[in-house]
């Protein structure tokens, strides 16, 4: 994993711990930060992401709400209108849908409809995507719904360091941010340089692995899979570059184009159903902007256009190393 400033103090944290730490540091630094949602209080969240925050900062700063996602989102709008920086948790991706109206018609639009007079500095944390053997409604990849909605920032870390720093930046942002936390990476550990100021910000993609033959474009939970695929391909003598978007909105056109142009081939990887998705957008943009550098069509490795499957079948829905390598094989190599 690329880190920027090798001098500073690092801690090894899981993604869940890194998020917990980001919340804790934000609560400590800024008295207007509030953490709220279902079970985020004494329980510390079903993934323990908010563990200890109520104990440390009190009931007013980190608290459970009644069980109603639209209510939570709408309540947060009011808090943010009146001087607070709420960080709300939607317990699982699919349980954010009742809040959709509030997210689309208010959270995304408030700043614009009031011509900048009412800002909503709020963060919607969404434990997100699959690969954890969850029963139905516990593994949705819902980023396209948010990314398609103008007015929202949409961010998806792929490692503990980004989880920490992107969340800190999201909380500090004057605009609403949908913060997607890949569930299957909650327990993945990594180094976090807590004092270095954070490296590249929201809106910047990062090359996680250099490579010359083709570019894999991924975000969130697909980044480790892409890295594994690149590792496997390297064993077969093919050099794959891996780009981690980190932020879906804003999108790093410059970074992604430069990466694709350097290899001339691209595969986009994402867990969500492929149709009208973020992967579609990436493929369309790359196709439009890098057309003359492309030696082959942009391939997409995504979830199929089906509801997320039950645990015993989810391995087929998730982009796998095999499916990525198949797509790479398909990129019309001259030597094939």
């Amino acid at each position: 994993m690329t880190t920027t400033s090798p001098a500073v103090e690092r801690e090894t944290l899981s993604t869940a711990q890194a998020i917990n730490r980001a919340l804790r540091d934000a609560l400590a630094e800024d008295p207007t930060v509030l953490v709220l949602g279902e079970d985020v209080g004494p329980l510390g969240g079903v993934f323990r992401v908010t563990d200890g925050l109520t104990a440390e900062f009190g009931e007013d700063r980190c608290f459970d709400t009644p069980l109603a996602e639209a209510g939570i989102a709408g309540f947060a709008v009011g808090l943010a209108m009146n001087g607070m920086r709420p960080v709300i948790e939607m317990q699982f991706d699919a349980f954010a849908y009742p809040a959709f109206e509030q997210v689309v018609s208010h959270i995304a639009k408030m700043r614009n409809r009031t011509r900048g007079r009412v800002e909503l500095p709020l963060v919607i944390r969404v434990p997100y995507a699959g690969g954890v053997g969850g029963v139905e409604h516990h593994s949705d990849s819902s980023e396209a719904y948010y990314a398609h909605t103008p007015g929202l920032h949409v961010v998806a870390p792929s490692n503990p360091s980004d989880a920490y720093w992107l969340l800190r930046e999201a909380i500090a942002s004057p605009d609403p941010v949908v913060f997607l936390e890949p569930k299957k990476l909650y327990w993945a550990k990594g180094e976090v340089a807590l004092a270095d100021g954070g490296g590249p910000g929201i809106g910047t993609a990062v090359v996680r692995r250099p490579g010359t033959d083709a570019t894999l474009i991924a975000y969130g939970p697909s980044v480790p899979v892409a890295l594994e695929a690149a590792e496997a391909a390297a064993r077969d003598g093919r050099s794959l570059q891996v780009v981690d978007l980190r932020s879906i909105v804003p999108f790093d056109d410059a970074g992604v184009c430069a990466a694709v142009e350097s290899t001339g081939r691209a595969v986009v990887i994402a867990e969500a159903a492929g149709f009208a998705s973020v992967a579609s957008e990436i493929a369309a943009r790359v196709g439009e902007r890098c057309f003359h550098s492309l030696a082959a069509p942009v391939r997409r490795v995504t979830g199929f256009d089906i509801p997320y499957p039950p645990p015993k079948l989810e391995h087929l829905q998730l982009p796998s190393v095999d499916r990525i390598l198949d797509a790479v094989d398909d990129l019309q190599w001259e030597d094939a």
Partner: protein
């Protein structure tokens, strides 16, 4: 056995069940002819408040009429009039202090005007210049809400933030009878109750949601009864009786300010005109019904009382009419100014810093506009 349950709120609320139940009849202090229903007129709001209220209603009525004229002249795209509901509109604004917040719907333009927002800015949305014409922080009036009931949880959040800071702000949040059917109404009342925030939910029951009558919206004894399920005291009041509205709403605001938590007030009134100018009310209701309600006009009623009590004379009434006329003229003049919205505004306010994508798109629009030739018009074809 009950004591073994040992949940504080049960013990507290069981005792208070009766307090939450609204009166069985809407509170009325002045009957439709302006006669006090109470023996002791000291039970009425102070004469000054009533006079101020009447002045507000005269202005609100004039504002409603003016806006409708502007629609007919094609200067406003649409206007959902509160004609007939002026007592509710004025009372909602009048019971609040400066530090308080008002959350209006699209129909509550007269309430926003009563609270001091510039009527020209209030009508910005309906004129089509921009989505919201005024600065919500200036008079603490939230943007006019179009998606029904969605503003109610915002009101709860605003109140909670104020309370966390120890401020004594009260929030008055308005919605219609139809909006009470939405899930957001439920969630807002429940959050308000659980967090015990100072919000007065004020439902203007004007008997219709566009064409749908109240009987298709609910079969509850009253909308005020909806408070019971949240542990929120409810009250129903004659929504065409300004005296009763001031009485009930300011008591509710006072209790909220004192830390007694949210309240629900239903004002029973009537939408005298069509839903908007685009609506045809004859399709779903008869003239008789409308005529019966015309007889309960909130302005006539208060006028009659105040004149009868010797508190209003022709001179004062003329002063009211003058003030209303001035506001109408200001509205007319302001709306007549043709604002050409800046196309760059499309991109300016979406984010605090435009994304690279928006920067590109703005450049595209700039380029398009700069090339504007007669053969390729800016209207979509």
């Amino acid at each position: 056995m009950e004591s073994e349950w040992n949940f504080d709120q049960y013990i507290y609320m069981v005792i208070n069940e009766d307090l939450m139940l609204p009166s069985r009849e809407p509170v009325m202090l002045l009957d439709p002819d302006g006669r006090p229903t109470v023996d002791d007129t000291a039970a009425l709001p102070a004469a000054d408040d009533l006079l101020r209220g009447l002045a507000g209603m005269v202005t609100a009525r004039r504002f409603n009429e003016q806006a409708s004229v502007l629609v007919r002249q094609g200067r406003l795209a649409v206007y959902p009039s509160s004609y007939g509901q002026e007592a509710c509109q004025v009372a909602a604004a009048q019971v609040l202090d400066d530090e308080d917040w008002l959350f209006p719907t699209y129909r509550d333009t007269a309430a926003a005007v009563t609270r001091g927002v510039d009527p020209v800015e209030v009508l910005g949305l309906l004129k089509g210049d921009w989505h919201s014409g005024y600065d919500p922080y200036e008079r603490r009036v939230a943007p006019l809400a179009t998606p029904l009931a969605t503003q109610l949880p915002h009101a709860v959040g605003v109140a909670h933030a104020a309370r966390l800071r120890g401020e004594s702000t009260v929030v008055l949040a308005m919605c219609g009878d139809g909006a009470t059917s939405e899930g957001d109404f439920h969630e807002a009342l429940n959050f308000a109750a659980v967090f015990r925030v100072p919000v007065v939910f004020f439902v203007q029951n004007n008997q219709y949601a566009i064409s749908v009558p109240l009987s298709r919206q609910t079969v509850a004894p009253s909308l005020a009864h909806k408070g019971v399920g949240y542990g929120v005291p409810g009250e129903q009041v004659d929504g065409n009786d300004l005296a009763a509205l001031l009485h009930v709403l300011s008591a509710a605001v006072g209790r909220a300010r004192a830390g007694e938590g949210p309240q629900l007030v239903e004002g029973r009134t009537y939408r005298m005109q069509a839903h908007t100018n685009a609506d045809d009310a004859t399709r779903y209701r008869g003239d008789d019904e409308v005529a019966a309600w015309a007889a309960k006009d909130p302005l006539l009623r208060l006028d009659a009382y105040l004149r009868g009590a010797g508190l209003l004379d022709d001179a004062r009434a003329a002063a009211h009419a003058d003030a209303a006329e001035r506001l109408a003229r200001h509205t007319r003049d302001g709306i007549a100014v043709d604002v050409v919205p800046d196309p760059e505004d499309l991109f300016r306010f979406v984010y605090s810093t435009p994304t690279p994508q928006l920067v590109e798109q703005l450049a595209l629009v700039r380029d398009e506009l700069s090339r504007d030739e007669p053969s390729r018009e800016e209207t979509p074809r």
